[in-house]
Point group: C3
Chain length 264, copies 3
Amino acid sequence: LHPPLITLTTDYGTHDHLVGAMKGVMLKILPEIQIVDICHHVLACDILDGALTIGMAYKYFPSKTIHVVVVDPGVGTPRRPILVTGDQHYFIAPDNGVLSMVFDQEEGFSVRHITSEHYFHRPMSNTFHGRDLFAPVAAWLAKNQQPLSFGEEINDPVRFTLPKPRAAEGKVRGVVLKVDNFGNLVTNIPPDMIPQVFIPDGRFRITVGGRDVPKVMLSYGDGGPNEPFGILGSAGLLEISINRGSAARTLGAQRGAEVLVELL
Amino acid sequence: LHPPLITLTTDYGTHDHLVGAMKGVMLKILPEIQIVDICHHVLACDILDGALTIGMAYKYFPSKTIHVVVVDPGVGTPRRPILVTGDQHYFIAPDNGVLSMVFDQEEGFSVRHITSEHYFHRPMSNTFHGRDLFAPVAAWLAKNQQPLSFGEEINDPVRFTLPKPRAAEGKVRGVVLKVDNFGNLVTNIPPDMIPQVFIPDGRFRITVGGRDVPKVMLSYGDGGPNEPFGILGSAGLLEISINRGSAARTLGAQRGAEVLVELL
Amino acid sequence: LHPPLITLTTDYGTHDHLVGAMKGVMLKILPEIQIVDICHHVLACDILDGALTIGMAYKYFPSKTIHVVVVDPGVGTPRRPILVTGDQHYFIAPDNGVLSMVFDQEEGFSVRHITSEHYFHRPMSNTFHGRDLFAPVAAWLAKNQQPLSFGEEINDPVRFTLPKPRAAEGKVRGVVLKVDNFGNLVTNIPPDMIPQVFIPDGRFRITVGGRDVPKVMLSYGDGGPNEPFGILGSAGLLEISINRGSAARTLGAQRGAEVLVELL
């Protein structure tokens, strides 16, 4: 039998004791759990960035993994804490939309409003539910495997729609969803919307924030110095990159920048 | 039986191999230990910041956890390495005061000067006792559970007093102890010194660095945009915060800034 | 029997889900592995920095540890993925020289070109072989312990020579290899090339980037405020440091800066 696996995705950063305290609370409840950090540098209070981070990572984990996602600007207000049972994974998060990209990818899922306060840490703060609510609930779920014990099912979890690319008159308009560690611009445009871009001799024109991206490459290393290019990124979306450089800096583009693909 | 648990709190940062080398040394001695990072971003050589970090985190861990705390500007000088047996936890650290906030919270504790050199890593550097002394001592303690084997008891560990708030003539003067990842200002003022602040219709005036903090909220989400407010933080102390913003930046306040609470 | 141990050294940073996805892939293949991060802040695409990081850390880990090193600007190009069986450890990396400092320290080692595609993650991206190739190969190796199953042996792995100090006419010329978290300058000069520097009353003169470093200390704490000094660092090399300060900032020196030691 394997040790239960819990992942953490938060905007707590790593400069404080916050993540450590969460882990302590969990290990006190169930010492044999394995805890894996997905990311603690979600942009502060940024639910979209949190939704993308967990949405791009969770499927790589084993079934029955418990994913704790705490991007929670409404901590202490009446926003609900929820426990989601998906096809193969569990998710524990505030009900603020941070699981929207998870919902988009699951065939079937049920959502429970976590109300069983005997699982919470005491004393309970009003400002740090990562430690006092989400962490202990995750550890107790790892221990009892009984999602029903945490609260009643609900049918109206908060869910937002990711910005979708729009196609019209041979043009696809998308946006930059995320800038990664290397300065690559991850867009919201999937390759099947822009087939010409990824075939030999396909004719197209890509512009980001009004600046031209003349080529598409098969790998980062094919690009010349300071030459921005499109590439099929690891999230299955069009990325704009520069070999050994930062496309974000060179193009002056941030999250939300418009990406225009003209199919010629 | 559970795997022994060791936590790490250091100012080594995560841009070098230093923390990795410490973990390797420990796992070579006892492969089944579980290692949890509390924080590696204690401000460099800052013993107060280290004392706060471990002091705010250790109680959340299971009993018998071994906490390794390495903020050690005196590495290689005659400062003593110590092993502390507290009520429920062990602590391994340089004897420079970094455990002061631990001592404040423990009912009873004993301190040993670590002198049993056969537990140290060889060759022993003069500059990296995290790897060569503190890590192997922690792993050997996890293995033998015999604090007595590491050295003689001492009665004079270095211990400093945290800056205390002062109350006089209806005013409480405190300071900012720490700025957290969100820019919240954690003060040293406990709520029982300023009861009017946390009751309905209580009359008070809070100023930080000379700037007015007009309100107190129950949760971060209750604050308006760019509106600084007081709140009871998760460490059980008055915090100054801004909803989805940085109180540190907005108020121009850093660690050490004066916090004045007038009870009206 | 101990859980298999896998370490990770990458330039992925910790602001994205990339490292989390790698860990998920490995735990899906073998849930009982223990994963240790050595460093994810290798300078982006910097093979020398990656080589130093793994080269300074791997020997501290238990035998049979599997070290995954992904600094891989050539991902998706024909550069080979390799599996190295060293004296006591395994290494999995792109064949771009990032294991050069490992090769320098191993008595004997064999290198295999990883070609057994049935071990790879499907679908396979062209841009994220950390997740799709290196992570699953490491987990499968932890599971089957059969390096032969991953591909044929090769004799020509890419290997570069670290910048070597040169001695002539009583002078040793070296360079700064690395600036650590504290601003210490780690040079490439071993103590046996400059014996006068480390003996009492030895006469020498050290300059870094043209600026004088007047003294040598036994421990960081012996230095005065803002006083740069030489010291024997934990990697067994001459370091230039300042007590509770940054030698890099004070001396205006970065990686690659010339370090001149005159033996008088």
